[in-house]
């Protein structure tokens, strides 16, 4: 179990789904990079290819064109598969995938599949539960469906964290959560960030993306339409509007106040401090 971040570089990745009579293109010539420990937001409307890209990175789908480099390794290099297994991918509405009789067993599934010793599985499971704010003693023995919606989502995240990933890919993690649950999940992600975990956050919730990520890549119809740090120049992230997304609230606010966008705060608290 190596620690430390993992760099992921997608070069000209293309992918089409086999569906019915014709292949359905999902990604076309996508260049995408997340450095070790970096936090990148993958923005785009539904159908833009975000989920597909995450699954290609993780190796669940094989690209039709282009390649995904992990660390120093190319797809044909030995050890590449091992690196793929060190990428954590949390699907949309992951609580739909809970299947075990107890919360603990569901979290333990991943580590067990990796072939770890029972002792390591035990430790990893307890750690993962604690990381997401669930108590191993209290929540561990409970049936997953007896937990609240927000708790179930965090449980599913624990299932991925238990495998000690070096970079975490999240597909729309905030969808369908009530505000308290969103806050809880945000806190968990912030604590992971603080530990240096690399993060790719695929979402259409630009405000969460703004709060958590330094860079963003915008996808539309399978193509990259913008990439890099947030556009705080004169553009003011107008590109987002063109693709059906919203500009982050704080960026919009700063723009309306006529303040230099480079100083835009990352949180309501920060904004208040700057405005007081």
């Amino acid at each position: 179990m190596t620690s430390g971040g993992l760099e992921v570089v997608c070069e000209r990745v293309s992918f089409a789904y086999e569906e019915g009579r014709q292949p359905v293109p999902a990604l076309a010539d996508v260049d995408f990079r997340v450095g070790a420990g970096e936090r990148v937001a993958l923005l785009g409307p539904t159908g833009s290819g975000k989920s597909t890209l995450l699954q290609v990175v993780r190796g669940l789908l094989r690209p039709d064109g282009g390649s995904v480099r992990l660390g120093d390794l190319a797809p044909d290099d030995t050890g590449y598969g091992e690196l793929q297994r060190q990428i954590g991918l949390v699907f949309q509405q992951p609580e739909l995938q809970l299947f075990a009789a107890t919360a603990r067993d569901d979290v333990a599934y991943g580590p067990r599949q990796l072939g770890w010793s029972e002792e390591d599985v035990e430790t990893a499971t307890a750690e993962a539960l604690a990381t997401v704010g669930l108590d191993p003693a209290e929540h561990g023995p409970r049936h997953p469906y007896s937990l609240s919606g927000g708790e179930q989502r965090r449980l599913a995240l624990a299932g991925v964290l238990a495998m000690r990933p070096r970079v975490l890919l999240l597909d729309e993690p905030f969808v369908s959560l009530d505000p308290p649950a969103r806050r809880d999940l945000s806190q968990v992600l912030h604590s992971l960030m603080a530990r240096g975990m690399g993060l790719v956050l695929a979402t259409h919730d630009v405000d969460r993306a703004w709060a958590l990520c330094d860079r963003r890549v915008v996808l539309a119809a399978g193509r990259v339409v913008a990439a890099g740090t947030w556009d705080l120049g004169s553009g003011g992230e107008r590109v987002l509007g063109e693709y059906g997304l919203e500009v982050p609230f704080l960026v919009d606010l700063w723009s309306r106040l006529g303040r230099p966008l480079a100083t835009t705060p990352r949180s309501a608290r920060e904004a208040a401090e700057m405005l007081a």
Binding site: G20, L89, L96, L98, Y109, Q113
Partner: protein
């Protein structure tokens, strides 16, 4: 391959536009006749009708081929079994296996008949949408209502189930990938091991399906669905003069098959 169910190929050919009830009856009658009437000559008549129907339906050959392909295995098996174990004087043998002229003839006949049956049956499924098919069967099955069989409700259930098949396929795909991301391996081991490996897929699928059933029932009630109450239709079935023509054609085919 998955997106279409029962191989329906949408179109506006004459065959597509026949009343589905008449098509069901026509196909049923032709298939029964095929079994009743022996002989290559009769078989040729039915085959001609099948091929003509396919041509009229404008369904692309590639589509037809994809539907027929699985049956070819069955046909080959039938042929071999019949050839080897059919009655008659042997004229060729290898070791313990005997082949007779009559056996070969039987084998050929049965195999070709199988193909013709599949072609005629496919004419129905290629040109009739699953809903139309369900409606037709529900209408034809109306007498069963006297035996307390809820044909209307069953037809609606079938239609809804069909509508969700592509969705279920997608969801199964997604769950499998999600669990693979957690190290699940669905390809290793013998049947027992593989079955157990599928638990992380089956449990969520079942749970989702039950939740879906609950949600759907509520949504249907919110739109005033009441089981047992007669419903009208946006696209009611309407028999037209051309359907009488179809039935006449079927009758003519059978007469011709009897006479050759």
């Amino acid at each position: 391959m998955r997106a279409t169910v029962a191989q329906y190929y949408p179109g506006i050919s004459l065959v597509h536009r026949f009343d589905p009830r008449c098509k069901v009856v026509a196909v049923a009658v032709l298939v029964v006749a095929l079994f009743v009437r022996d002989g290559f000559a009769a078989l040729a008549v039915f085959a001609a009708v099948g091929v003509a129907g396919l041509a009229l339906s404008r369904v692309p050959l590639a589509w037809v081929w994809r539907a027929l392909r699985p049956v070819l295995w069955l046909m080959a098996l039938t042929f071999v079994l019949q050839a080897l174990f059919g009655p008659g004087d042997e004229f060729w043998s290898v070791g313990p296996l005997h082949v007779s002229r009559r056996g070969l003839e039987q084998a050929a006949f049965l195999s070709v008949r199988l193909i013709v049956i599949v072609v005629i049956g496919s004419l129905l499924t290629f040109t009739t949408s699953p809903i139309a098919l369900t409606d037709a069967l529900a209408w034809l099955g109306r007498p069963l209502r006297r035996l307390r069989v809820p044909t209307e409700e069953l037809a609606l259930m079938a239609t809804i189930a069909l509508r969700f098949i592509p969705t279920l396929f997608e969801e199964t795909d997604t769950i499998m990938r999600a669990q693979r991301a957690r190290g699940a391996d669905f390809s290793r081991g013998g049947p027992v091991r593989r079955a157990r490996a599928l638990l992380p897929v089956l449990v969520p699928l079942f749970v989702m399906s039950f939740r879906r059933a609950d949600d759907l029932a509520l949504a249907m009630e919110a739109r005033c669905y009441t089981p047992g109450v007669a419903r009208t239709r946006l696209h009611p079935m309407q028999a037209r003069p051309r359907d009488a023509l179809l039935l006449l054609l079927v009758a003519a085919t059978i007469v011709a098959a009897m006479l050759v």
